[in-house]
């Protein structure tokens, strides 16, 4: 962790091919060649991706930056209205994140404490079970709960089925979101927007891990405070996430529902 893997790989990839670095070299390459050179990097493979949020280290500033980075990279529009808002990752207080688990004598600082929330990439996801078109499914090789916006018919069965409120629907065309709130939209010209009438959610940065990059939130969090958000392979006993889960007390949201969330919170 802590190393800016993306920069490292970019430079390494370019130097290997051209013996050069920087923008000039990039321009000489055939489109897609840099990306093509990045496959087979170790980070692209895991049996089951998971995340551990270390609440001792995590704070509001880091969370805000994670949310900002994720939404910027994935062209998530800001509708400025909770009715139609789209969220891939966001903050929620303890009371609501772990609804029903608090007690009356908890201090306000615990109740009001913010947690970082995103799709749990469950082992046994209800959303995938109910989707009539397989537009959302559990990726066998690494456990990411994927979403195919080309396939989605917008029935919103997955939103009803998800017990974590992780899914958002494009109630309107994201490109018609209020301009004053989205001056730079689309914020990432290398990533698509969505169309109206499809569901979207966190994709665990499938497009980034394929290139050996950490998910945007993980990268951002670790730039600010190392190991505040830890990402790794839950199937690998030697992985950083497994080490953390062995040594520290961690909880998950609504484990009693049997969906098997893969996002852990060290408290």
């Amino acid at each position: 962790m802590g190393i800016d893997r993306r920069e490292f790989l970019k430079i390494a990839g370019l130097s290997a091919m051209m013996g050069l670095g920087g923008k000039a070299a990039f321009d000489l390459l055939v489109p897609g060649e840099v990306e093509a050179s990045l496959k087979d990097t170790p980070l692209t493979q895991a049996k089951r991706w998971g995340m551990v949020v270390d609440m001792d280290k995590m704070n509001d500033e880091i969370m805000d930056r994670c949310v900002e980075a994720c939404h910027r990279i994935h062209n998530v529009p800001d509708w400025g209205d909770p009715k139609v808002e789209i969220k891939w990752i966001w903050k929620e207080t303890y009371e609501h994140t772990f609804a029903g688990q608090g007690h009356d004598y908890q201090g306000e600082e615990f109740k009001e404490r913010n947690f970082l929330i995103l799709c749990n990439h469950c082992d046994n996801p209800a959303c995938c079970r109910v989707c009539p078109t397989k537009a959302t499914w559990k990726r066998e090789k690494d456990g990411v709960v994927m979403m195919d916006p080309h396939r989605c018919i917008g029935c919103r069965f997955c939103m009803a089925a998800c017990p974590f409120g992780a899914r958002s629907f494009n109630w309107g065309d994201p490109r018609k979101a209020p301009e004053e709130l989205n001056t730079q939209f689309p914020t990432n010209r290398d990533y698509p927007t969505r169309t109206k009438g499809v569901v979207e959610k966190c994709n665990l940065c499938a497009e980034r891990i394929a290139k050996g990059q950490f998910p945007a939130c993980v990268e951002t969090a670790n730039e600010i405070l190392k190991d505040s958000l830890v990402f790794g392979d839950l199937e690998d006993p030697g992985s950083n996430v497994r080490k953390l889960l062995r040594s520290r007390y961690a909880i998950r949201r609504k484990p009693e529902l049997g969906t098997g969330p893969n996002i852990y919170y060290v408290v």
Binding site: V84, T133, G154, C155, A161, G165, N170
Partner: protein
Amino acid sequence: MLDKAIKGSQIYWGWIIFLLALIGVGFGFYLYQWFEGLRITGMSRDVSWGFYIGQLTYFVGVAASGVMVVLPCYLHDYKAFGRITILGEFLAVPAIIICLLFVFVDLGNFPRFINMMIHPNLTSILFWDAIVLNVYLFLNILIGWNVLSAERKGIHYQKWIKILIYISIPWAFSIHTVTAFLYAGIPGRHYWLTAILAARFLSSAFCSGPALLILLCLIVRKVTKFDPGKEQIRTLGGIVAYAMIINVFFFLLELFTAFYSQIPGHMHSIVYLFVGLEGHGKLVPLMWIATAFAFIALVILIVPGFRRKEGILTVACISVIISTWIDKGFGLIVGGFIPNSFEKVFEYWPTVPEVFISVGIWATGLFILTVLYKIVTAVKEEVAA
């Protein structure tokens, strides 16, 4: 036989034009939704299904209830219903079409619905719901049309139709069971996560559907020369009575489990619906209206002296329809989403365009119903003459 539908009185044509106008208005609002997206509805990130899916649920019940005239006729050899089975079947046809239209307008990307057929997910209840609904539609059109043609020609319908009729009886139960499974198997939505949901759906279907059929019979008697029959209406009244009692009983079972166990998740939605939660209670008046009408309906239906008077029975039928419509077509869906997965209350209320699109769909159903009933009554008049 379709020619029967184009020979009618001025009132008939006036009614048809009125319905077409409503369909046109609904379609206009649909175009608005088509261009702007579903944000023009009252649905939200938290209440992601609303009026449309509620109507789907309710009208699957109406469609399934056709079996309440078919079953006594064919399984119990109750001959009196032979006269009106066609009315039940031709009520199911527009009801299913209403259901399918409500699914379509609810889809974010309706042209892609074809993905359900090219990339079906066999674990999805919605896929199975589409299958059973379409087969049921097909069965009812086929059976109704063939039986009526045979009646017109004065012959007995063919043998294979009888097989289809026997298939259609369990099929009617299946469509509403599958619809209940849409909700009853979802983790984390306590109001829906109940094994009795399919049974509740069937009981409310078997009171609201026949109640509607009674009203339709009375209208048919009034505007045509065909009389569905006094005995038939009385028997239907009995069916409505039993089904409504069971329906209310099942709901009371839900109340017991939720409130005797005192498990917060099980109580929250019900509390929201009937008294409001955290200061939010948009649905409270509606739910009490439903309760009041259920009470009126039960009093009339239980006392035989009331139930057997057609005038008072009409009041009971209207009460049953209002009560079950609010409970199933509105409260059930919205209540399931409140409170949301974070135990926050985010309310829902349909918007004007949403209601007009729904009116357009109801009008489409009524249009088809009118045409089909026109054909039926014209054939019945012709045969009688």
